[in-house]
């Protein structure tokens, strides 16, 4: 089995029992499948605040099955691959009940990659191997210099970094006459210095390190020529905590309706739906508006329409929409409909919602095809608000 970031796919599954959080499994009684390409299939059964994970060929009975390749799966579980991106990009797929699968997120503690040791030799090899990729060509214009490193001790060695004509090269010797040479008695001190564990002044002062040649080149130019070395063992854990302030704003608002909208809203109280009719072009506006924006004239003639009509358009909303007035998330899916009221024509439609259990039955109409006939369902206590109509339902 292949390893990714030093972790095998089965390591993730084998550690599930140990990483299991019973508090995340409350009231869950379900089965999830994992289908990891070229690696195998696993079945996760959650019941009575316990889990069972087994490798199997039979994923039948799973409410949702996750599909991914080994690298992506390990990457997502170890934090090396962004889960949202992997999902959006189709590298992770979920067949079946997506919402149910989302609950697996709370079932387990994070998988932590066991820390591996890196020796001074490993670090030096990595530091000089990453010199060229870390080189910032934009900072090297016109520069012709060589930086030599003479690092002593049992793990030490010699290196030279050349920069000329915007190209950076590294040799594992010291050649020619370097612009500046950095000398460390013990290579381990150099590693600690680069990792930020020890500062240059105490090294110099302690006689553990020194430099020959153009010291200024090393002190001021080197740091801008190269991206900072990243400790492979440090992972992506930020060294500083970023303080983010969380705020919730709650506001009371009240809006005057004006006479035209006022008539519409008052009509709803009386179970009537009012439009107004443009004296010039004859179109109906629903809800009524003070003027016809096309003709730029006042529209004062109020006309009762509906209350029944025909569905011309429906949006089925699956996305968990927050209600802007309460912040509460609307139940999904719901159907937002545009109803062409009896007495209206063309685009004179009213947007509202359809009864939740009737979404599947709604047909959208156009010139040649009648849409589903619907009627409003009124609230018992009406206050002059668009929600005085609870929703529309099929008029059978």
């Amino acid at each position: 089995m292949a390893e990714y970031w030093g972790v095998k796919v089965e390591d993730i599954f084998n550690s599930m029992q140990e990483r299991f959080r019973p508090e995340g499994a409350k009231d869950l009684d379900t089965v999830f499948g994992y289908d990891i390409k070229d690696e195998g299939k696993w079945k996760l059964t959650v019941k009575d605040n316990k889990i069972k994970i087994e490798k199997t060929d039979d994923l039948s009975g799973s409410v949702a099955t996750m599909q991914a390749d080994g690298e992506t799966f390990v990457g997502v579980n170890t934090g090396n691959v962004d889960a949202t991106n992997a999902f959006m990009g189709g590298k992770v797929k979920v067949e079946g009940d997506m919402a149910a699968f989302g609950k697996t997120g709370k079932l387990f503690r994070k998988f932590v990659i066991a820390q591996k040791e890196m020796t001074t030799k490993d670090y030096l090899a990595d530091m000089f191997a990453t010199i060229v990729p870390r080189f910032k060509v934009s900072e090297a214009a016109g520069l012709d210099a060589s930086f030599a490193f003479d690092l002593g001790g049992p793990d030490g060695g010699k290196w030279t970094v050349f920069i000329k004509d915007n190209v950076c090269t590294v040799t594992a010797t010291i050649e020619g006459k370097p612009t500046v040479t950095l000398e460390f008695n013990d290579a381990k001190d150099y590693v600690d210095f680069i990792l930020g564990k020890i500062d240059s002044q105490s090294l110099m002062a302690g006689g553990k390190a020194g430099a020959k040649g153009d010291l200024n080149m090393m002190a001021s130019k080197w740091p801008v020529l190269f991206e900072k070395y990243k400790d492979p063992l440090a992972g992506n854990v930020p060294q500083q905590e970023l303080i983010v302030l969380k705020k919730t704003i709650g506001l009371n608002e009240k809006f005057s309706t004006g006479p035209i909208m006022g008539k519409f809203l008052k009509g709803l109280k009386e179970k009537k739906i009012y439009a107004n009719k443009c004296p010039q072009c004859g179109r109906m506006q629903l809800p009524p508006r003070e003027v016809c924006a096309d003709c730029r004239v006042r529209v004062n003639e109020i006309v009762e329409v509906g209350p029944k009509g025909e569905v011309r358009y429906m949006d089925i909303v699956y996305y968990a929409m927050p209600d802007p007035l309460t912040g509460a998330v609307r139940d999904t899916p719901y159907g937002g409909i545009n109803v062409l009221m009896d007495g209206c024509k063309g685009n004179e439609t009213l947007p509202h919602f359809i009864r939740k259990d009737q979404i599947e039955k709604i047909q959208m109409g156009w010139n040649e095809k009648k849409g589903t006939r619907v009627r409003p369902v009124w609230e018992e206590n009406r206050i002059g608000d668009i929600w005085d109509i609870k929703y529309f339902e099929i008029d059978e």
Partner: protein, 399 residues
């Protein structure tokens, strides 16, 4: 005939933008803005002392900071300068470009700096957008910026399979473009072989609008510096000239879906494009323009709008996509930057369209520079309640 009333010509002489990202908790708003401004000043080889006026734009409801321009002075450098704050909608970035153009053209200021910014992770985008609707009734019903109506329109006309494939083809082209743009927020490395898979597996948001087809929510800022003809010629090697811009909106078309052919709804993009090209005497925009930076909030809108912008007939717009003529190197490259689907810091988004189009005209956009010379570029902005802004950019002052 807006451009013919122009008192004097205006050129873009400086462009800066941040890397767009969903993870900019390392900086606050003024600091984020400052990054874009520093880059634009460096690009123009100017300092804040050279700037006569600052035009600031974002969507205040998203972060819920009133008068953000005051707090942002720490980052904008507008202290002691004339400063104008503008908020429209998704178009705000395009609107501040129009305003800057007008301010310079009028003769009031010689050099104006436009700053568009958003930190969408700091507020609630969908909640903010929902608040744009008429509070007396529609706010309670609408679903943010999401609708499946464009998908429905294209499906109804061309069949589900062709429509779905066109939308995903567009989406994957944008992903490939974003992959070339080092500032783009996201590129997933999608490939055309994944089309069927993504159609099947990407979760539905509204109707047939899928998660993969929708734009991102980004943190980012963009800064563009505008100068009068004389200063532009003095200061910049390759100023990019603003030829014309147009703004059209019709709020009520936002709520009406009657699907009655006898009563066509005014489409603001189509109307704006017709007016703009007519008054500039451009007979065939598809031939005239070399690149188009389009405000594409989702791939469904994008594929539908191509027909409106370029006055295309029948399925010509779908063919452009299917034949990949909208890719870098194609007949009409759309969004070499990766577009709004790639990065969407909303207050900066429409200004980024102008900025990226101008970079293409200058010829130094970077890895996503189109290989053929760009003389004429088009940029569009789009915002809630059917709001369109279009901007025409030119390499030469010869129209």
């Amino acid at each position: 005939m807006a451009h013919k009333k122009k008192n004097r010509n205006v050129g873009i002489i400086g462009i800066g933008q941040t890397k767009h990202s969903s993870h900019r908790e390392d900086v606050n708003q003024p600091e984020l803005i400052h990054e874009a401004i520093s880059l634009a000043l460096k690009d123009a080889n100017l300092t804040m002392n050279d700037i006569d006026c600052v035009v600031h734009g974002n969507m205040e409801l998203f972060e819920m900071v009133h008068q953000p321009d005051l707090w942002h002075v720490l980052g904008t450098g507008a202290y002691g300068k004339d400063c104008i704050r503008i908020t429209t909608g998704g178009t705000v970035g395009a609107t501040i470009a129009c305003a800057s153009d007008n301010l310079v053209a009028s003769g009031m200021y010689d050099i104006v700096m436009a700053i568009g910014f958003e930190k969408l992770q700091e507020g609630h985008t969908t909640g903010g957008i929902t608040n744009m609707a008429d509070p007396l009734w529609f706010r309670k019903i609408q679903a943010g910026a999401l609708t499946g109506s464009s998908a429905y329109d294209v499906e109804k006309e061309f069949g589900l399979e062709r429509a779905d494939r066109a939308s995903l083809t567009y989406r994957i082209i944008m992903d490939k473009h974003a992959g070339l743009n080092p500032n783009a927020h996201r590129s997933f490395g999608l490939d055309f072989g994944q089309i069927d898979d993504l159609i099947r597996t990407s979760p539905r948001l509204v109707g047939n609008l899928k998660l993969i087809e929708m734009c991102s929510q980004s943190d980012g800022a963009c800064c563009v510096i505008f100068a009068c003809e004389k200063k532009a010629k003095d200061l910049a090697q390759t100023p990019v000239w603003i030829r014309d811009h147009i703004t059209v909106h019709k709020e009520e078309s936002f709520t009406i879906f009657g699907y009655d052919r006898k009563y066509p709804v005014l489409k603001t993009h189509k109307f704006a494009a017709e007016q703009l090209f007519k008054r500039n005497d451009i007979k065939n925009p598809l031939d005239y323009f070399d690149v188009f930076e389009m405000y594409d909030p989702a791939s469904w809108w994008a594929i539908d709008w191509l027909r409106d912008f370029f006055a295309l007939k029948g399925d010509e717009h779908l063919k452009l996509i299917e034949d990949k003529e909208i890719m870098i190197g194609g007949k009409m490259p759309i969004n070499p930057s990766g577009g709004v689907i790639g990065s969407n810091p909303i207050g900066a988004t429409a200004l980024l369209r102008v900025a990226e189009a101008a970079l293409q005209v200058r010829g130094n956009a970077g890895p996503h520079q189109i290989p053929t010379p760009v003389k004429h570029a088009l940029a569009s902005g789009f915002g809630g309640t059917m709001w369109t802004v279009m901007t025409m950019l030119e390499k030469e002052l010869n129209w």
